[in-house]
């Protein structure tokens, strides 16, 4: 294993996570480098989402350390981690269904707003300027990028599933994160929506104005192998391999873990 310390943004060190007597994660370690798309894959129940929840702060592991940009965040609360630049989407959509698309995105932006209750109520000078700047940011960098202009004023609960997934991503981006944690962004999408979503992830990752590191938990192997720089494979709570998509696909532990699903590993959508 080569030394990756250079450019490492997120370091996960020997994480153990138990739910009662069940070990969901056993001594998992990996490192995510700045600017890459890093995917966590594995069979059902391998602990992928648990891992993501540990990183975002929803779960607190019993043992192990998580370092983000050199800072130990293991004991920080989710909102503190968000302030540091960690943002996420959920496997099952967790939007405010009764609010409009724009309001959901604005809510994600809230953390970056500095105006207080009083000055916001008066709304002159700096506060008004801040509001305009943030509006501009949301419109230019998020709504236009994710192609959701036509639904910006619609209530989220009324939208089809595929668009709701997109709004989830939009809200996560409004935080202006340094790292984006995506929990099964493709689940339940049709082929066209998957292609769109893949394009958006690549845009967010590569575009000069974003360049966000992406950590992806995903079942769609074709997609994972297509867009990831590196992949980590979990099986029954243990990491069994990590490396480039090519090397992971050749790894015999991985092939064994996916026995019977071997073909899935090689499927690409085309």
């Amino acid at each position: 294993m080569p030394e990756l310390d250079d450019g490492v943004q997120l370091k996960v060190e020997s994480i153990d996570m138990f739910f009662g007597g069940v070990a969901a994660l056993k001594g998992v370690s990996f490192q995510v480098r700045k600017g890459e798309i890093f995917s966590i894959i594995g069979p059902n129940g391998a602990g992928k989402t648990v891992m993501l929840n540990c990183i975002s702060g929803l779960y607190h592991p019993q043992r192990g350390k998580i370092l983000f940009e050199g800072k130990d965040i293991t004991s920080l609360r989710p909102y503190q981690r968000a302030r540091l630049g960690l943002s996420r989407t959920f496997q099952k959509i967790e939007l405010f269904r009764g609010m409009t698309v724009l309001d959901n995105i604005r809510l994600g932006r809230h953390m970056r707003m500095r105006a207080g209750l009083l000055s916001g109520g008066i709304y002159i000078g700096k506060v008004a300027r801040e509001e305009i700047e943030n509006r501009e940011f949301i419109e230019r960098e998020i709504i236009d990028l994710l192609e959701i202009a036509h639904i910006r004023n619609q209530v989220v609960g009324m939208l089809p599933y595929g668009l709701q997934k997109r709004v989830e991503l939009a809200r996560a981006l409004a935080v202006q994160p340094k790292m984006l944690l995506l929990d099964e962004p493709m689940a339940g999408l049709n082929l066209e929506e998957v292609e769109d979503m893949a394009r958006f992830i690549l845009d967010v990752n590569e575009d000069k104005r974003w360049q966000v590191t992406c950590v992806l938990v995903e079942h769609d192997m074709g997609l994972v192998m297509d867009i990831s720089n590196r992949v980590a494979v979990l099986n029954f709570g243990e990491k069994i391999a990590d490396g480039t998509p090519d090397s992971v696909q050749r790894d015999e532990h991985v092939v064994r873990a996916y026995l019977g699903e071997k073909e899935d590993l090689y499927v690409t959508r085309r």
Binding site: R135, E139, I143, L145, A149, R199, D203
Partner: protein
């Protein structure tokens, strides 16, 4: 009538004396100088806000692009292919190509790669100007098969990070080249514009044939300008009018309004944010003038019908009353009858309570002239708009006559005609019933297709291929293309288009295809409207997972059956539909089932769905279908389906 917004008190640009040397760029430059930065030439909704572009900005950009194209090697007479959604950059590029002496060739935005290749190659285009990644991908896919193509220009950077093909050029770079040329040689642009002549070719339009491969119609600058002027002699446009540009630039009707009328009248063009937001943006602008295909008007009516069905009891009753009053007034207007005072009073009331709200809802609250053209609109739709006080008028014309030769006059509208010729235009009917027309806007011929030109242009008369007659009031009545009049086995004639348009007045029916030529009776293939029928099914707790499943659901079949029965009551006996099937998909231009202007391609349909046709004329209760469909990205998939054949009562 009693509805406002008639344009009184507005400023109208003086009519231009169209001397033979005048070109579209010359008129454009005049207008740009006249209005400068005092007037908004166009607006685009971008990032949620309407952003204005003055005439001075418009001029500066066109100039930069034109000189940039010249710097890249554009010469007088070269073809410039253009593709993309409606947006300012598209129009700048077109105008720039014309200023530099080029010929603009617009391609439908959703055209498949093979169509793009055919047009780019056949037109000898040197440049292809697209919008962003999608168009660039198409261009790169065809460039090896189009050796004359030298340069592909794009402007939207989204997703374009990794593109480095040397054939590609960014629009703002092109403008930089142009500005550099302007610095070195400040008179260059004026000389380019001056070098043009009215008789030069301005536009090359590939018409979507219902029967054959596309033909390229050549239209000159003066063809286009004269057409716009003659249209506005009938219906003046004003400088402070707004027009919303959302139909494809590759359609002559959009060129008529955005280019020819736009630069002569000086009204403001408004570009929607995204194609999906066009209807919303239309409502925000509330245009005074609108020209669209019948499809859009049908869609508007369908939207209202759905809202009506979802509405509360009281509102429904009010709507019904308002519409009855509206219909009575509209019919009186068509028949030029005076109405009694009580009806008039009711009309005022209905307008205040119902019609005004409906117009506002459709974005037509300020509309002065709404035109429909392209394909025939059904009488029910036509009456509907007049009932709610929208001055909807038919336009008749072909691309080959710059889009328009015949038009309804505001005070002289008849339901079954398309109106009277516009100034400087003659219409006559040939012995075999074909409609012939002659005007200064008749085209120069088809590009590289002399045989077709000779067929269409004889002794200066344009042979339309349409049949029709001129009625007692001098109005033209036209039946769709000659081949679209059908004859049953027993010799009785009927018009399938008429029956189809009637069927489409049902909100549940999006498309209908009537069959019956040389057959014992009339049958139909129906495409349900997925959105409307889907909502209808949901309200009744009917589960479905796909269009195909919904279309074969027994209650949906019954719903369509009732709709067809109702239509049958309004049709002459030979045209009544006896049997129909619900198709498992909507008709789609990508499958060659429709032209890009959404006319049915009957011969193709008959070949493709011959199993269905055979089934409809047999005793079978259902028909098995095995076919392939094309996705938007060009992939194909197989579909298998069993379609139930439904019988309909045809007697009164």
């Amino acid at each position: 009538m009693l509805r406002g917004g008639n344009g009184k008190g507005r400023t109208r640009a003086a009519e231009i004396n169209l001397t033979p040397d005048l070109t579209i760029p010359k008129v454009f430059v005049q207008s740009a100088h006249r209005y400068g930065d005092r007037k908004v030439a166009m607006r685009e909704k971008e990032y949620g806000i309407w952003r204005p572009i003055t005439w001075a900005d418009y001029f500066e950009r066109v100039k930069a692009i034109a000189l940039g194209l010249v710097a890249l090697g554009l010469e007088r007479g070269d073809k410039v292919a253009l593709i993309g959604d409606n947006r300012p950059e598209g129009l700048w590029a077109e105008m720039a190509a014309l200023c530099a002496g080029g010929v603009a060739v617009w391609i439908y935005q959703e055209a498949l790669i093979d169509e793009v290749q055919y047009i780019v190659d056949h037109s000898d285009a040197k440049f292809l100007i697209g919008e962003g990644q999608e168009e660039v991908d198409k261009a790169l896919a065809i460039k090896d098969r189009c050796p004359k193509l030298q340069c592909v220009i794009w402007d939207d950077p989204k997703g374009m990070r990794h593109y480095d093909d040397p054939i590609l050029e960014r629009l703002d770079r092109v403008m930089e080249y142009g500005r550099a040329v302007d610095q070195r040689d400040p008179h260059r642009f004026d000389e380019l514009v001056k070098g043009g002549n009215g008789d030069d070719i301005a536009l090359l339009f590939y018409t979507s044939g219902t029967t054959s491969a596309p033909k390229g119609a050549l239209l000159t600058h003066s063809n286009m300008l004269r057409m716009g002027q003659n249209l506005m002699r009938v219906d003046p446009s004003y400088e402070d009018d707004d027009f919303v540009s959302f139909l494809p630039f590759a359609w002559i009707g959009e060129q008529m309004m955005s280019v020819s009328c736009g630069i002569q009248a000086g009204f403001t063009l408004n570009f929607p944010e995204e194609p999906e937001t066009a209807m919303e943006n239309l409502r925000e602008i509330g245009p005074q003038v609108m020209f669209s295909s019948s499809r859009l008007y049908e869609q508007l009516v369908r939207g209202l019908q759905v809202k009506y069905a979802d509405s509360t009891f009281l509102k429904r009753k009010l709507y019904e009353w308002g519409m009855n009053v509206g219909y009575a007034l509209a019919d009186a207007k068509f028949e030029k009858r005076a109405v009694s005072l009580p009806v008039k009073v009711q009309g005022y009331l209905a307008n205040a309570l119902v019609h005004r709200a409906l117009r506002d809802h459709l974005g037509l609250s300020r509309i002065r002239n709404a035109y429909t053209g392209g394909s025939a609109i059904g009488p029910d739709h036509f009456r509907f708009f007049h009932a709610i006080g929208v001055n909807l008028k038919q336009i008749y014309g072909q691309t080959e006559i710059a889009g328009i030769s015949v038009l309804h006059r505001s005070d002289d509208i008849k339901l079954d005609t398309v109106g009277k010729p516009i100034p400087e235009t003659e219409i006559k009917i040939a012995d075999d019933g074909e409609i012939l027309s002659r005007s200064p806007s008749v085209f120069k011929g088809y590009y590289k297709n002399d045989a077709a030109t000779e067929k269409a242009l004889r002794d200066g008369w344009l042979h339309s291929g349409d049949n029709g007659f001129i009625d007692g009031d001098g109005h033209l009545v036209f039946f769709d293309r000659s081949q679209d009049i059908m004859i049953l086995n027993d010799g009785r004639k009927f018009s399938p288009v008429f029956a189809e348009s009637r069927m489409k007045f049902s909100p549940y029916i999006k498309d209908a295809w009537i069959i019956g030529h040389q057959k014992p009776y009339v049958a139909a293939v129906v495409c349900i409207d997925y959105g409307v029928t889907g909502r209808w099914a949901e309200a009744r707790g009917i589960a479905y997972t796909s269009y195909q499943e919904l279309s074969q659901e027994p209650r949906v079949l019954e719903l369509v059956q009732h709709a067809v029965e109702r239509v049958n009551k309004t049709l002459p006996p030979p045209a009544r539909v006896k049997r129909f099937v619900n198709l498992f998909k909507e008709f789609d231009a990508d499958d060659n089932e429709l032209t890009r202007t959404r006319k049915l391609r009957r011969n193709f349909l008959e070949e493709r769905y011959k199993d269905i046709v055979n089934g409809l004329y047999s005793d079978a209760k259902q028909v098995h279908m095995d076919t392939q469909i094309t996705y938007e990205d060009g992939r194909v998939a197989k579909i298998k389906a069993d379609l139930k054949i439904m019988d309909v009562a045809t007697s009164q």
